[in-house]
Subunit: 162 residues, 2 copies
């Protein structure tokens, strides 16, 4: 019951790309150096973001990734699902069908009650993540971090952005 590391990486990469000026791109190499994570493996996560349409890419030198939408239009749920998929935390294996008292021709018009309850909790979880955008994260970071550190990070980013 744990997320991939890639989810954390993808979220932090999106956070960094949130400060990227219009039309510029950040390469996998730069993103991996900034966060201290393996470049090749991070690439898989970024490809997930790309396939989900959350980021745009260009090839060649000075290529890389940038956000495909405004920071206010990308939610945490978008990013998590792009990397982790849309599977529910609870997978119903239809245990109820094994009940020895169940007639062979029994048909279930509704999903198993246990699954319904677990899936409702999943929905609450998704709703919570869908309420937070990258813009909200930017606001939180502006409160958390010292202004000069934000400035230095931004300069670092400008140096690398193609």
């Amino acid at each position: 019951m744990k997320f991939r590391n890639q989810v954390e990486w993808a979220l932090h990469c999106c956070s960094l790309m949130s400060s990227l000026p219009e039309g510029r791109y950040l390469s996998t190499r730069s993103l991996s150096e900034f966060h201290g994570v393996p470049k090749e493996y991070l690439g898989k996560a970024l490809q997930g973001l790309s396939k989900a349409g959350l980021v745009l890419t260009t090839l060649g030198p000075s290529g890389g990734y940038r956000l495909a939408r405004e920071v206010g239009q990308i939610t945490f749920l978008d990013i998590v699902e792009a990397v982790e998929g849309r599977k529910s935390t609870f997978q119903c294996s239809e245990i109820r069908a094994n009940n020895p008292c169940r007639p062979a021709n029994a048909c279930d018009d509704r999903p198993c009650a246990v699954a319904r309850i677990m899936w409702r909790a999943d929905e609450a979880w998704r709703r919570s993540l869908a309420e937070v955008t990258l813009a909200d994260l930017q606001d939180m970071l502006a409160e958390d971090l010292a202004p000069d550190m934000l400035k230095r990070s931004f300069d670092w980013l400008l140096e690398r952005a193609g």
Copy 2:
């Protein structure tokens, strides 16, 4: 990002034990037969419930498990956490410390903003599961299932209960 099978098994076992008359017990063997799951492995999940204080046990022939509290006093969250543990879905690896622009003496007074958002979603998930008890599940099943099947399952249970 998926639960153990044991979580599903434990929930269904608790559901069955909800109909158990006062003072009677159900063995691992019976529970595994009813649900069609491996006895030895199911035993591990039931031991989890036992260690969490959700069920009582007795040894010897006619021994087994029964709920330790009223059905209205055992929540889905209780059961899930007894089997799965209390780990969060999101594990913060403090990626922010790898930021090359970060001064060596920097200290963080708050958890990483990304983690705070993810943990808030976990809380919403837990709250949802904490709102549902085994009594609620019984009500749902009474609506879902044909009365004669509930009756047959109950008789099956009485035959096995020690």
